[in-house]
C-alpha cells in the first residue's frame, strides 16, 4: 500500500462515513487524488463507490468525516457547492434535463445570464464533434438513446472545465469506438491537469486507464495503490474478499450441453417495433436457458417486453410471435401472464416492486394477478403461505416474510421481484439483467435458481450485458445488435470475444 | 349572492323624476283621434326595439320569474329580446354587459351585483345611446331607471315585528338567530344593519348567532341545527333569502320546534317561497312580488323608449311594494309559478 506521490494531494477524504437510515453505505473511508491523476475506483455493487463520489460531488453529505480540497476543509451541502469548487460528477443514471436541448444541457449551470441560442448551438456542436460524439446539439434530450445521453453528460463535464471530474461507469453504454474517443479525451484532460475519478465495473478498463486504483468492499476501503502493481486477479481478490479460485465465474461453465430433443415453446419471427426492434427473429425452447447479449439500445429489452405484452409491436409489418405454435399478440402484460409468459424487469426500483408493501404482500400481488390465483377476497393464509414458501425457495434473507421490502438489500429485493413473477407459474420467463446491483452471494443464488427453473422444463431467457453472466448461464447465446439478432452461439463455441465482436460489428 | 342593493339618498330625486317622466310621456296622447294616434306612437317607438336582460344568473326562481315576465311582455309587444346568463359571476356579468353594448340594443336591463361594478360600463352604454335600467340592485352611477325594493325599509319592518314577538313583554327568551347570506353583499349588509338597529332598541333581544351561509341551504341547515342544540329556546330566526332560509327551517322542523321558533324570510313570492310558508317552514314571509317587478321594469323601458330622451338625461325609479305572507293568507297570495320550459 505504498503511494508514490511527491506532491500534496489535491483532494482528500478523511474517515468518510455515510449512514442511510441505519445502514452504513461507507465507513471510515480514506481517499485522496492528486492533480492530473486518473484514479480508478472499483468494487462490487453496493460497495459504496457511488456513495463516496456523490459525497464528493455534494449530492449527499457525509454523516461524519472530512473532505479536504487543497488541504482546506470543505462542506458540500449541495452539488452547487462542489461545482463551485470545481468538482463535476457524471452520473450513471444520467442527470440531464429531458425537456431541454443537448446544447442547453451542456451549458446549464455555467450559462450566461442571457444566452444567444444560435451561438450556443454552434458552440455545442463544435464541442461535441471535437470529442467525436455524434449528437445533434438541437435535439431534445428526451429523444436521445442511453449512449448519447452519456456523451452529453461527458461533454457537460468537459465544458465545465472542472478540476476534478468523477465518471460513474461512463463506458457502460458506449461502443468500443466511442470508448476509444472517451479514453483519448481522458488523457487530454489529464494532460491539462484535471484529476479524474473513474468508476468502472470493467476491470480491464480500470487497469488500462488509471494511475492508481482504490478498491472498496462493503463500504470500506480495502486497497489503494498504483495501477502498475495490480493485475485483474489481485483486483478481483480485493473486491470479493475471497480467493480467485473460489470466485464465482472462474469455473462456471457447465460441462454438459443438453442435446436431447427440444420442444420449441416460443418463436419470434421478424418482429418490428418502432426504431428499437427491427426484424428480430429467434426461438426459445423448453428446459433451456437462452441468453441474449447486446449493448444497451440493441433491442434486447424491448423484444422481451414485446413478447410479454408490456410493449406493442408494430400493428402492420410487425412480424409474428408464436407460443407453442399458436400466434399471439398481447395488448397488456396480464394476457401474457395468463398464457404463462412473465418478464422480470431490469430496473427493480423503477418498476419492480411495491415499496409500501411487505415481502409477502408483494409476492401475493403477483399471485393474485394470475387466472388461477384470482379471488375476490384476500386470504391472509394464502398470503402467508406463498410468502413463506418463496422466502424459503429464493433464500430471501429477512427477519421474516413480513418485513418491509425497502429494508432489504438489493439482492434480496431482486429475489422478491423474481419471486413475484415466478409465483405466477410461468412457462416462459424473461430475466432482464437479473443480477444488476446484486451482491455476489445473491448472484450465485439467483443463478442457481434460474438453472433449476430450466431443469424443471421452463423456457428461460436471460438478458444481460455482462458477458460472464451470459456465458455461465446460457445453453444458447443470441447476440442482438441494432434491433435484430445477428448471431447465435452454442454454449460450447461462445467466447467473450466472439460475442463482443458480434455485438458491435 | 347579492340580490338587491339600494342607495337611500337617491330615493327622492328619482321618485320625483319618475312622476315628471310619466307626464311627459303621456303628452302627445291629447290629440284628436287619441286612440289611433297613441297606438301609432306606441307602435313606432316600441316595435322592433331590442331589450337585453342581464340578470346575475338564470336558473333561480327569482331571476327565472323576471326573465319569464320580461320575455313574454317583450314578445307581446313585438320587441326583440335577448338574455345572457353570467351564472353568478360578476366578472362574467361585466363581460356580458360590454358585449351587450357592442350589440347595440335599445334598452339594457341589468341586475347590478354591487354598487361599484359597471360604473363605467353604464356610462359607456348611455353614450352609445342605450337606456340602462337597473333591476333590484343599484350602482354608484345613476342609470336611466331603477326598479326594485327598499331593503332598509323592509328590514325595519321585519325588525319591528321580531321585537314585538320576542322582545320585552312577549314572555319569550328574546334570542334571535340571523342567517346571513354572504357577508360582503351589500343587500345583506343593509338588511343586517337595519335589523341590528331595531334590535338595539330593545335590550331583551339577544342575537345568539349571526353566521354567513353563503346563500347555501345546507349550510344554513347545519348552522341552525348546531345553534338549536345550544339554545333550544331561540325565539326567531331571520334569513334574508327564502331559498337559503328553507335550509334553516328544515333544521327547526327536525328539532321539533316548528311554531315555537319563528322563521322570518323574504322573497319574490314565487311558488317555492309560498310552498315553504304553506308547509309551515317559514312563518313570516315578506313578499315583494317579483312578477310585478318584471311588469314594472317593462313599463319603464317602454316609457323611456316612447319619451325618446337622450339616455342619461333623466333618472327614474320605482320602489316595489311588499306585504307579509303567513300561513293564514298564503292561499290568497298570488304565489306566481312560471310555466316550465318544455
Amino acid at each position: 500500500m505504498t503511494t508514490e506521490r511527491h506532491e500534496e494531494p489535491m483532494l482528500r477524504v478523511v474517515k468518510g462515513t455515510k449512514v442511510y437510515g441505519g445502514a452504513r453505505a461507507i465507513t471510515d473511508v480514506d481517499f485522496d487524488i492528486g492533480r492530473g491523476e486518473i484514479h480508478g475506483l472499483v468494487g462490487e455493487n453496493g460497495a459504496g463507490k457511488s456513495t463516496l463520489c456523490k459525497a464528493l460531488a455534494g449530492a449527499i453529505t457525509l454523516s461524519s468525516g472530512e473532505i479536504l480540497l487543497d488541504e482546506q476543509r470543505q462542506v458540500f451541502a449541495t452539488p452547487a457547492d462542489a461545482l463551485k469548487a470545481g468538482i463535476v460528477m457524471v452520473y450513471q443514471e444520467t442527470s440531464l434535463i429531458p425537456t431541454m436541448t443537448v446544447a442547453q444541457n451542456i451549458i446549464l449551470g455555467r450559462e450566461k445570464y442571457m444566452t444567444r441560442l444560435r451561438g450556443m448551438y454552434i458552440a455545442a456542436q463544435q464541442l461535441l464533434q471535437s470529442m467525436n460524439f455524434h449528437v445533434d446539439p438541437t435535439a431534445m434530450v428526451s429523444t436521445l438513446g442511453a449512449a448519447q445521453k452519456q456523451m452529453v453528460e461527458i461533454a457537460r463535464a468537459v465544458h465545465h472545465r472542472a478540476r476534478l471530474i468523477i465518471f460513474d461507469e461512463p463506458t457502460a453504454t458506449l461502443t468500443p469506438e466511442e470508448k476509444l474517443h472517451f479514453f483519448d479525451l481522458i488523457h487530454r484532460l489529464k494532460a491539462e491537469g484535471v484529476a479524474i475519478i473513474f468508476i468502472s465495473h470493467a476491470l480491464e478498463e480500470a487497469l488500462e486507464l488509471t494511475d492508481r486504483v482504490t478498491v472498496l468492499r462493503d463500504g470500506e476501503c480495502v486497497h489503494t495503490g498504483p495501477t502498475k502493481d495490480l493485475t485483474r486477479e489481485i483486483l478481483v481478490r480485493h473486491m470479493v474478499g475471497r480467493d480467485l479460485s473460489q470466485t464465482y465465474y472462474a469455473d462456471a461453465r457447465k460441462p454438459d450441453i443438453k442435446q436431447t430433443r427440444r420442444k420449441k415453446v416460443l418463436s419470434v419471427q421478424n418482429v418490428i417495433m418502432g426504431k428499437m426492434v427491427r426484424n428480430m427473429s429467434f426461438s426459445v425452447y423448453a428446459g433451456e436457458i437462452t441468453g441474449i447479449s447486446g449493448l444497451i439500445g440493441s433491442g434486447r429489452t424491448e423484444i422481451a417486453k414485446v413478447v410479454a405484452g408490456a410493449l406493442k409491436r408494430n400493428f402492420i409489418y410487425g412480424g409474428m410471435i408464436y407460443l407453442n405454435g399458436k400466434p399471439i399478440r398481447y395488448r397488456i402484460p396480464r394476457q401474457a401472464i395468463a398464457d404463462g409468459i412473465v418478464y422480470v424487469t431490469e430496473d427493480r426500483k423503477l418498476n419492480g416492486f411495491f415499496e409500501t408493501m411487505r415481502i409477502d404482500e408483494n409476492i401475493y400481488v403477483g399471485r393474485l394477478a394470475t387466472p388461477e390465483g384470482r379471488s375476490t377476497l384476500l386470504s391472509r393464509r394464502e398470503q402467508t403461505r406463498v410468502g413463506t414458501e418463496w422466502v424459503q425457495r429464493m433464500k430471501i434473507r429477512a427477519i421474516n416474510s413480513r418485513a418491509k421490502i425497502v429494508e432489504l438489500s438489493g439482492g434480496n429485493q431482486q429475489k422478491v421481484v423474481v419471486a413475484k413473477s415466478l409465483v405466477q407459474n410461468p412457462k416462459v420467463v424473461f430475466f432482464d439483467e437479473p443480477t444488476r446491483g446484486v451482491d455476489v452471494g445473491a448472484i450465485q443464488e439467483i443463478h442457481d435458481f434460474i438453472r433449476s427453473l430450466a431443469a424443471q422444463g421452463i423456457a428461460v431467457v436471460v438478458i444481460s450485458s455482462y458477458l460472464p453472466e451470459i456465458l455461465s448461464l446460457s445453453d444458447r447465446i443470441l447476440v442482438a445488435r441494432q434491433g435484430r439478432i445477428v448471431e447465435e452461439f452454442s454454449a460450447a463455441e461462445a467466447t467473450e470475444e466472439k460475442i463482443m465482436y458480434a455485438a458491435i460489428h | 349572492m347579492t340580490l338587491i342593493n339600494h342607495c337611500r339618498r337617491l330615493v327622492k330625486p328619482i321618485a320625483l323624476t319618475l312622476g315628471a317622466m310619466l307626464c311627459i310621456s303621456t303628452l302627445p296622447a291629447s290629440a284628436a283621434d287619441g286612440g289611433a294616434q297613441l297606438k301609432e306612437i306606441y307602435t313606432k317607438s316600441i316595435e322592433g326595439k331590442t331589450i337585453a336582460f342581464l340578470p346575475m344568473t338564470l336558473g333561480a326562481p327569482l331571476m327565472d320569474t323576471w326573465e319569464y315576465v320580461i320575455r313574454t311582455e317583450a314578445e307581446r309587444s313585438n320587441m326583440k329580446y335577448s338574455v345572457k346568463d353570467p351564472a353568478w359571476n360578476s366578472t362574467a356579468l361585466a363581460q356580458a354587459f360590454e358585449g351587450a353594448i357592442a350589440d347595440k340594443p335599445d334598452v339594457i336591463i341589468v341586475q347590478n351585483p354591487n354598487v361599484q361594478l359597471l360604473v363605467k360600463q353604464i356610462k359607456q352604454a348611455q353614450e352609445a345611446g342605450i337606456y340602462v335600467i337597473q333591476l333590484s340592485m343599484m350602482s354608484n352611477t345613476l342609470s336611466d331607471g331603477y326598479v326594485g325594493g327598499d331593503w332598509t325599509e323592509q328590514a325595519e319592518v321585519t325588525g319591528k315585528d321580531i321585537v314585538k314577538e320576542c322582545g320585552t313583554g312577549s314572555g319569550k327568551s328574546g334570542k334571535v338567530v340571523i342567517l346571513q347570506g354572504e357577508l360582503t353583499s351589500a343587500q345583506n349588509v343593509y338588511m343586517t344593519n337595519a335589523l341590528m338597529k331595531e334590535f338595539a332598541k330593545d335590550t331583551a333581544i339577544q342575537v345568539v348567532s349571526s353566521q354567513a351561509t353563503n346563500w347555501d341551504a345546507t349550510k344554513a341547515y347545519d348552522i341552525t341545527t348546531a345553534v338549536l342544540q345550544q339554545h333550544p329556546d331561540v325565539c326567531a330566526i331571520f334569513g334574508p333569502y327564502d331559498i337559503m332560509t328553507i335550509g334553516g327551517a328544515q333544521a327547526v322542523k327536525k328539532a321539533g320546534l316548528t311554531g315555537k321558533v319563528l322563521v322570518y324570510s323574504n322573497g319574490g313570492g314565487y311558488k317555492e317561497g309560498c310552498d315553504a310558508v304553506r308547509a309551515g317552514l317559514i312563518d313570516r314571509y315578506m313578499d315583494w312580488d317579483a312578477w310585478n317587478q318584471g311588469r314594472e321594469v317593462m313599463v319603464m323601458a317602454k316609457n323611456l323608449l316612447m319619451a325618446g330622451e337622450k339616455p342619461g338625461s333623466h333618472n327614474v325609479a320605482s320602489f316595489s311594494s311588499f306585504f307579509w305572507v303567513t300561513k293564514d293568507n298564503v292561499d290568497q297570495a298570488r304565489c306566481t309559478d312560471i310555466p316550465k320550459k318544455s
Partner: protein, 710 residues
Amino acid sequence: MADTSFRETLIRLRYKWSFQQFVAELLQKRWMEPVVPFTAAVLVILAFAFLIPGYLSVGNIVSTARQFGEFGFVAIAIAVVIISGGIDLSVGSIFAMANFIALMMFNMYELSAPLSIAVTLGAGALMGAVNGMLIGYIGLGAFLTTLVTMLIFRAILNLLILRYSMEMAISTGDSRFWDWLGGGDLLGVPANILALALVAIVGHIFLSRGRPGWYIAAIGANRKAARHAGIPVERHLFLTYVISGVLTALGGVFYAARLNSPSSDTGVGMEVLALTAVVLGGVNLSGGKGSIGQSLIGTTIVLVLINGLVRFGLVGGATSAFLGFMMLLAVGVDVKWSRNRNKAIEKIYVVPSYFKLGARHDIAPDSGSAYALNNRLRDAEAIGLGKLDGPEDVIFDREGNLYCGTREGFIWRFSGKDLETQEIFARTGGRPLGMAFDRDDNLIICVAGMGVYGVRPDRSVYKLTDETTRTFGKVIDDSRLVLADDLDIAPDGKIYFSEATLRYTAQTWATDALEGRGNGRIIVFDPSTGKTRTLLRDQIFPNGVCVSHDGQSVLFALTWACRIERYWIAGPKAGKLETLIADLPGMPDNINRASDGSYWLALVGLRTPAYDLAMEDPGFRTRMIKRIPNDEWLYPNINNGCVVKFDESGKIIETLGDIGGKSHPSVTSMREERGYLYIGGLSNDRIGRVKLSGVDEQWNGPAAYWGERT
C-alpha cells in the same frame, strides 16, 4: 433531356416542392409544439365569427381584449409555476386581493396611481412569497399548499371587505393615468394588452434564453438533475411563486382600474380557468415544458369560448358544458399528439423525390468506351495500411509530405523519402474530409460536423468558420455547418467549399441519396473579411470542389446527380453556373488538378440499373422506407469506384479502376504528386500509390498552384 414527356414533367413538378418535407421541418421546430391548441383557437374564433353577427366587430374585439389582458397575466403566472413542476391554486385569491388593495390604496387612501400599483405588486409578491417559503424552503407539496393559501387569502380578503366595504363604496380616487389603465388605449390597443404584450415578450425571452427561466424549467423537468447541475432549487422555487404572485397582482391592478369594484366574488374559480387555459395551450402539467406563447394561446381559446357562448345567449350550463367538452377534446388530442410527434417526424423525415438520370455509359473493360474499367488500381502500393481509418482526402505539402484525415478526427502525416515516417500531425475532432493548402502553407480542412478548420505548420489547430448566413424564409435554421465536405482555395484566397447535405450528418449521409433532392450547398468563406456566405443552394449532394487551372471557375461534383458543374467566379461569365459533365457512370466525389492541365475525378461508386430505376419512383422508395428496417433499404452502390481524368472541356481522357474492389473498393479522392497518383477512400484502411506514366515527374500541387514560396 429534351424528350421529357408530359407525364414526367408533371411528376417532376409534383415532387419539386415537398409538402411533406415542409411539414417535417415545421414539426421539428419547438414553436410548433402548440400547433394543436393554436389550430383549436383559430377554429373557435372562426366558428364564432361565422355564428354570431358582429362578433369580429372592433368594439367586441376591444372589449374581449380588455379581459384578455387581465386574465393573460394570471395565465402566464400559472404557466411559470407549472413549468417549475408545481401548481398555484391561490392565483384567484391573490388576484382578488390585489384588486382590493389597489382600490383601497387608490380610492380610500388616495395614493397616486403609480404608488398604488407599487403597493399592490408588493402585496402580490408577499403573498407569492408565502407560497414560495412553504413550497420552496419548507418543501411542502404545491397542490396542497396553494390550496390552503387560496382559502386563507380569500378569508382574509372577505374580512377586509367586511371591514372596509362601506368606506370604499363611497370614496373614489381620481387620476387620468388610472383611467387610462382601465379604459384607455394606444393606437386602439387597450392599455392592459400593451402591458401584457410587454410582459409576455420580456417573459418569453427570459424563459427561453435567460438563466432564471432555464433554471425554473430544469427544476420542473427533473429536480434531481437540476440540483446536480448546481441549480439552487429552493431559491428558484421560491422565486417562481413570487413571480406568480406579482404577475397575478398586476392582472388584479388592471382589473381594479377597469371595473373599480371590490366584489367578493372577484377571481373565484379563476385558478381553474387559468389552469384550463394553460393546459389547453399545451403546457405540460408534469412540468419542465411550456412557453408564454402557449399559455396565451390557451387563454385566447378559453376567453373566446366563454365570451362567445355568453354572447350566444346560452344558459350558464351550456357554457360550462362546452368548456368542459373543449377542455377534454383539446387536451386529449394534445396528449396523443405530443406522444406521437417524434414518431411522426421520424416517419416523414426522409422525403424521396423524383429524379431521373440519363443513360448509363458502358463501363465494361472491353467496351471500348472512355469509362472502360481496368485493374490499374488493384496493385496500388499501400501506405499506412491498418493504421488509417478512412482517409477521405489525401494531400501533399510543398515538401512532399502526405497528409490525410481519419475517422477519429486525426490528421496523419507521412514524411521521409518514401513516406516511411508516420505520425499524427494534429487532431481536429469531427470527421476531417476535404483538404487544401493555402498560400501560407496552412492546411485548410473541411471537418464534417464542425466546419472549416486550419492547421498551421506548427500543428496548432484553428477555426476558420462554423456558420454561414441563414436562408431567408427557410423553416429550419440552416446557419450551422453540418456536413462541410470538400474545399478549394481560389487565387484570391477565398475558400470555396461544399456542404453535402443539410438534413443528414457524417454518420447518416448515405440516406440523403434516397431523397434525390437538392439538400446541399456551395459556400464561400473570405479569410480577409472573415465572412461566410452561401453561394449556391439546393444542390444534390455537392461533394468535390476544385478551382480550375486558370482560377476563373470552380468545378464541383454533385454525387447523387452524377454530374460535374462549373461555376464561374471571374471573367465574363462570373456568377454563371453550367453543367460540365452529365450522366457520369458513377457517383463523383473529389476533383483535383492534374499536372497536365486536366483534372482527376474520384467516382465513389458506380451506378446500378436497380438504383437508377428506384430514383425514378419516389413512391417505391417511400414504401421501402416506411416498411422495412433501414439497413435493408436499397442504397446506391458506393462499394466499387474508380478514378477518371477529364480535360477542361469535360472530355474523359482516362479511367483507372479496381474491378474486384480488393484494395480500393470505393475511391473518394486522389492526388497527383511527382509522378504518382495517391488514392484515398472514405472507408478504406490505407492510402494507395500508383505510378503514372507520361506525366511531369516533378509536379507538386501547392507549388504548381501557389507558385514558389515567397
